[in-house]
């Protein structure tokens, strides 16, 4: 079943290799495909972006997305746009993408890459599907150049934990872990055995603290329990402002140039310390 599904996905992704024609009416259903679509295609070929694309706190392409028709991933809405390529995330809006396939639309799905290599591969795959192979290569080259230009690590690597609202942390085998390593930090959560994205209790963070706590920018907004949690007195006591680095939330959401942006921000903060 799983093999069949992945085979099918592979076929879908590889099929457009035959026709090199760039897609003319691209509809994106997901925040991360919004970013890829706007970076790889001419703006006028992107017919619609997801409803999150305009939110500057989540989207890295909010500027470019302004004015483009916004969809909420509803099947009817998408069909009315007459797309020749629909970009979606494999684990979101499943009923819509299933429906689009049944109706014969070309759907290309992305995943959430958990390494830099997988990020490059995904950019190449989507560029191929869009018929924009050259732009894909250029985007990967930009990413690699920015990563190569990161300040080098000298001496001891400080430890850091990326602490997310609700007490979740990125552990090993995650893209954020790779970003931390590129920026010259040791990921405390990975060392403590956290894999992927898992809960790291406030207690263990306080009993065994990293040098640096990487938190979401604007964690001062306490309008949810999840964020209020980041200003718990115990956490404040243990991690004064100079032991915190704030990274915008949008940098952690998708695999693309934001990987470089996050690494640059973290590396600069490390050097400044």
């Amino acid at each position: 079943m799983t093999t069949a599904a992945s085979l099918f996905a592979a076929v879908v992704i590889l099929a457009p290799a035959a026709k090199a024609e760039p897609a003319q009416r691209i509809v994106s259903l997901n925040l991360c495909t919004d970013e890829l679509a706007l970076q790889l295609a001419d703006r006028d070929k992107v017919v619609s972006v997801s409803f999150l694309a305009n939110d500057p706190s989540l989207s890295t392409v909010a500027e470019q997305a302004r004015g483009i028709f916004v969809n909420r991933g509803m099947l009817e809405q998408i069909v009315a746009l007459k797309p020749d390529l629909v970009l979606a995330h494999r684990y979101a809006s499943r009923s819509t993408t299933d429906g689009l396939r049944r109706l014969g639309y070309r759907v290309v799905e992305i995943e959430s890459p958990q390494s830099i290599a997988a990020t490059r591969q995904q950019i190449a795959d989507v560029a191929l599907a869009m018929g924009e192979v050259e732009r894909g290569k250029a985007l990967i080259a930009t990413l690699d150049a920015r990563l190569a230009a990161l300040p080098m690590t000298a001496g001891r690597r400080p430890t850091a934990a990326i602490y997310q609202p609700n007490g979740y942390a990125f552990g090993r085998d995650s893209l954020a872990d790779a970003i931390l390593a590129l920026a010259g930090f040791d990921n405390l959560a990975a060392r403590d055995g956290v894999a992927g994205y898992a809960r790291l209790s406030l207690e263990s963070l306080i009993a065994n603290p990293p040098d640096i706590l990487v938190i979401e920018e604007g964690g001062g907004d306490q309008r949810s329990m999840a964020q209020q949690f980041l200003s718990h007195p115990a956490l404040k006591d243990r991690f004064p402002p100079q032991a915190r680095i704030e990274v915008p939330r949008r940098y952690w959401l998708c695999a693309g140039l934001s990987v470089a942006a996050a690494a640059e921000l973290l590396a600069r903060a490390r050097v400044a310390q």
Partner: protein, 333 residues
């Protein structure tokens, strides 16, 4: 009469103290017996964990639980309804709604005191409505059914408010408000809720004698010179203060106010006066226990407190319904 209760009081107090200490010693991954010693020796991290994380958690378990236990006993006495419980009759749900509106609108950021006040306002609306209804139609089923409707409405409005909130985390936090949790609360939460709870306890406990007279029926109570209006006011406002402030910092924890008075009633000869104080202690005991259990059962993501209390409370509720109303229950608290 009072003397015969003494062993029960001693046992309840000892149990409560013991659980409070166990709660302080329980971490997210089981018991940590060495923590107090490390803190004593001056280990800053251990001290921080003990004072800023464990202490508020244990205190809130005790205080919120006491409030729910006491409010359950008082409401059962006032409505003369053995199934009246803050969660079942929608008082906790309305308190959660009040707190949600204040919290997610940002009002509690501008003024922290607004959070308990929001919860209290929600609880007060619910209890006052039920009391007005009870005066018109005192049958058992009427109050219960109205309470169930109120609870459903409050739950739906809470979900609606969280859905409409622009905050990306709001929607998933409905679980906290419906099921309750004491994880990662701070001493600030204790300081916010405690004053209101304390006033609520005093008000409810001051109604103990009148509730006792009420067990003989309204007419008899009246002829004994008991001011029913004053009693109603004290229990309604007292329960709203205690439950509202508690729910505002811990979410709605169900069934504590149902189980505790029922378990303790036989020990006190079905007399409301000692039962009120005993339910105060008993609520703390049950909630502390549940909060210790969720830390052991939770695993990676901690179980919500309301899950543990409902797993015990809901079958208990069934049992009460199956057993049917008994004469000693209908009249007494």
């Amino acid at each position: 009469m009072t003397r015969s209760f003494k062993p029960v009081w001693l046992a309840l107090t000892a149990l409560c103290l013991m659980l409070f200490i166990v709660s302080l010693l329980t971490g997210p991954a089981g018991l940590t017996l060495d923590l107090p010693f490390a803190a004593w020796r001056g280990d800053a991290a251990a001290r921080l964990v003990l004072v800023e994380l464990r202490l508020p958690r244990a205190l809130l378990g005790l205080l919120v639980g006491s409030s729910l236990g006491l409010a359950g006993a008082a409401l059962q006495g006032l409505f003369r309804n053995p199934l009246a419980e803050p969660g079942v009759i929608g008082v906790s749900g309305c308190a959660a709604l009040g707190a949600v509106l204040v919290f997610y609108s940002g009002a509690s950021l501008a003024m922290p005191m607004a959070l308990p006040l929001g919860g209290i306002a929600g609880a007060l609306v619910a209890i006052a409505l039920l009391q007005l209804l009870a005066l018109r139609d005192p049958r058992l089923a009427t109050i219960l059914l109205a309470g169930v409707a109120l609870a459903a409405l409050a739950g739906a409005l809470t979900a609606l408010a969280l859905n409409l909130s622009p905050n990306p985390y709001a929607v998933v936090e409905i679980v906290f408000w419906l099921m309750g949790s004491l994880a990662d609360r701070s001493l600030q939460h204790v300081a916010l809720a405690l004053p209101f709870m304390a006033v609520g306890w005093v008000l409810m406990l001051s109604g103990a004698r009148s509730l006792e007279a009420l067990t003989l029926g309204e007419d008899t109570a009246h002829s004994l010179g008991i001011g029913l209006r004053s009693l109603r006011l004290r229990v309604v406002v007292g329960a709203a203060l205690a439950v509202g402030a508690g729910v505002a910092v811990s979410g709605a924890i169900g069934f504590v106010g149902l189980i505790v008075p029922h378990l303790l009633r036989p020990f006190f000869g079905h007399r409301p006066a000692p039962l009120l104080a005993a339910s105060w202690l008993g609520g703390g005991i049950l909630t502390l226990t549940a909060d210790i259990v969720v830390r052991f059962l939770g695993g990676d993501t901690e179980l919500r407190l309301g899950v543990a209390t409902a797993l015990v409370g809901a079958p208990f509720f069934f049992w009460l319904v199956l057993r049917g109303p008994r004469s000693d229950m209908r009249g007494g608290t």
